[in-house]
Amino acid sequence: MVEVFAAIFERPNFLTFVIIFLWGFYIMVTRYNLVKKLVGMYLVQTSVIFFLVSISAKKGATVPILLSPTASVQAIDYVNPLPHVMTLTAIVVGVATLGVALALCSAIYRTYGSLDEEEILKKLE
């Protein structure tokens, strides 16, 4: 039991990821306000992006631009750029999703005059 906890605290980034992910998921499930649901959704997306960034961190390395044009390239000196590019794309996807979601929210508000899920469901019947 103790080893399990020790192993978890050795990797605080994973722990942080799990906490943010579950926190977002909890908000998504328990809140009735649609915008609050979106906040939870965005936390879930952000936690995955955080996970991607944290597994690609590298101590003592620099941006992937050649330090000198003549010296031979040492991979250990540079950060792998691919996870960061993926992260950027994932952020763009997240922003687009949020945009569509907020547009839907505003349309729902204009139609039903409320953002509370229970009230809207009452009006739907």
């Binding site: 996970f51 996807v93 999703t97 839907l104 469901l121 739907l124």
Partner: protein
């Protein structure tokens, strides 16, 4: 030229979708002709591509000339090309259908509709062709965003359904991305072919098992596999009549295709990841989905909702087919996927006609159609025969090969599930036919309504396709066995 067809098939609808809001700013009526001509050219291109690939083998297209492990790769193999032909044909037929219903049931938002449809089709093309896991994620999300917007495009009741679809779909996409990042952490690559070479040494890794689980959860939500299907019935029921056929026919099936890619092209087959028999578990979940979906369909009153649950149960049957781990089952699954796409399109076309012309929403009222339109009734009979799986239709042969594959794998649970879901499908179509043939129509004096030519064309085409797929099942299955099997099966 033919080498660039896979890229062209994706870029043509994408650029048309991007430029449409600008071009059609002044001339809204142009949007329909632009969309139709794009889809027509896609049909031609996709058939050329299919012939080319059946003749000369698969094409691996590296974008901007960057070689695969680093660059972005398009894999145009037999499976992708076959699905693409179905995709572009069904897209075209949906657009033809939309000509008769669209301005009314979309609330006048024609340009929005055609832009989103083209965006959806280009993203689905991307999912079919994607050669690496991250691009699969991006296209899944583009397709999903287009579908959320399409469901909600007309406003009203559909808005809430679209919002729920969005929340669940985004959760699915996040889980899929999490799975991809586990795989990336384990292998250091995203390219499917490259990953497939590295994974056999890593199969005991917990990261691979976890990543696979998250990917399956994510794609399971996208393909509406049974425990995660909650978003689908509402979204398909409330979506405008010119939207639900294309969603029902294509979106969930293409997500399933993404899972097939991960399962067979990345992981390889006959695989037990950390002693977990993946194929067997997927097959079991498929059996569950096939039965539960059909049971839920049996309890519905709303016509569109019943067809939506029917689609959920058929996703399960396709999964049973592809997860038997032998050639017969896999080909049966792929063949059934094509059939199911056509049948779902046909059912939702029929529901669309019934709703927009006759005001028939529930099974109670279906009797009215029989009196007024023999054409629609015969189309419904053909689609029902396909869904149940009676001999001259493609549905029968798909189920036949799936059952043969399950027997070959000694998987009697799967055989039982397919048979049981067939019985249940029969039961819920009997409920419809009871209304159609036995009950007197409720409005006897209603004058016959002329069905617009576009509706006749689209319903007729899909009904023909259900029969033709059945009659030509032998040569088609032969071609599928020759060209679509994953490596090593």
């Amino acid at each position: 030229m033919s080498r660039h067809l896979p890229a062209l098939l994706f870029l043509v609808p994408l650029f048309a979708a991007i430029s449409m809001p600008i071009v059609c700013l002044r001339h809204r009526a142009w949007s329909r002709s632009i969309a139709l001509s794009v889809l027509c050219s896609m049909v031609v291109f996709s058939i050329m591509n299919l012939v080319n690939i059946f003749q000369y083998g698969e094409i691996r297209y590296a974008f901007s000339g960057w070689p695969p492990p680093l660059g972005i790769e398009w894999v145009a193999d037999g499976l992708a090309s076959v699905v693409l032909v179905a995709l572009s044909l069904l897209g075209l037929v949906t657009l033809i259908f939309a000509g008769s219903t669209s301005p009314k049931d979309l609330g006048g938002r024609i340009v929005h509709y055609y832009t989103l449809i083209l965006l959806l089709i280009s993203a689905l093309t991307g999912i079919v062709f994607a050669g690496d896991l991250f691009n699969l994620f991006v296209f899944l999300e583009v397709a999903a965003l287009a579908s959320y917007a399409l469901v909600g495009v007309a406003g009203g009741k559909a808005l809430m359904a679209a919002f729920r679809y969005l929340i669940l779909g985004t959760l699915g996409a996040s889980l899929y991305l999490l799975g991809v990042s586990y795989f990336y952490a384990a292998t250091g690559t995203l390219n499917m072919a490259d990953m497939a070479e590295q994974l056999p040494h890593l199969l005991t890794s917990k990261a691979v098992l976890g990543g696979l689980l998250f990917m399956f959860l994510g794609l399971g939500i996208k393909m509406a596999l049974v425990p995660f299907h909650a978003w689908l019935p509402d979204a398909y029921t409330h979506a405008p009549d010119s939207v639900s056929p294309i969603l029902a026919a294509l979106v969930t099936k293409v997500a399933l295709l993404g899972w097939v890619r991960v399962m067979f092209w990345v992981l390889g087959i006959k695989v037990a990841v950390d002693d977990t028999p993946v194929l067997l578990l997927v097959g079991l979940l498929g059996s569950l989905a096939a039965v539960i979906g059909a049971v839920l369909a049996l309890t519905q009153q709303d016509l569109k909702r019943m067809f939506a649950y029917g689609g959920i149960s058929h996703i399960g049957i396709i999964l049973i087919g592809v997860s038997q781990g032998n050639q017969t089952g896999f080909v049966g699954g792929v063949f059934y996927l094509l059939n199911d796409a056509v049948m779902q399109a046909s059912l939702f076309f029929i529901a669309g006609v019934a709703i927009s012309l006759y005001g028939v929403y529930t099974i109670e009222d279906v009797g009215r159609i029989a009196k007024q339109s023999p054409l629609l009734t015969s189309a419904l009979v053909i689609a029902a025969m396909g869904m149940i799986g009676l001999p001259p239709t493609g549905g029968f042969f798909g189920k036949w090969y799936i059952i043969l594959g399950a027997l070959e794998a000694n998987n009697y649970v799967a055989v039982g599930a397919v048979l049981l879901s067939t019985m249940l499908t029969l039961a819920y179509f009997v409920r419809i036919f009871e209304r159609v043939f036995r009950h007197a129509p409720t409005l006897p004096d209603a004058r016959p309504i002329e069905i617009p030519i576009q509706m006749k064309l689209s319903v007729g085409f899909t009904s023909m396709a259900i029969i033709v797929l059945g009659l030509l099942s032998d040569p088609i299955v032969g071609l599928l066995i020759d060209h679509t099997l994953p490596p090593g099966l």
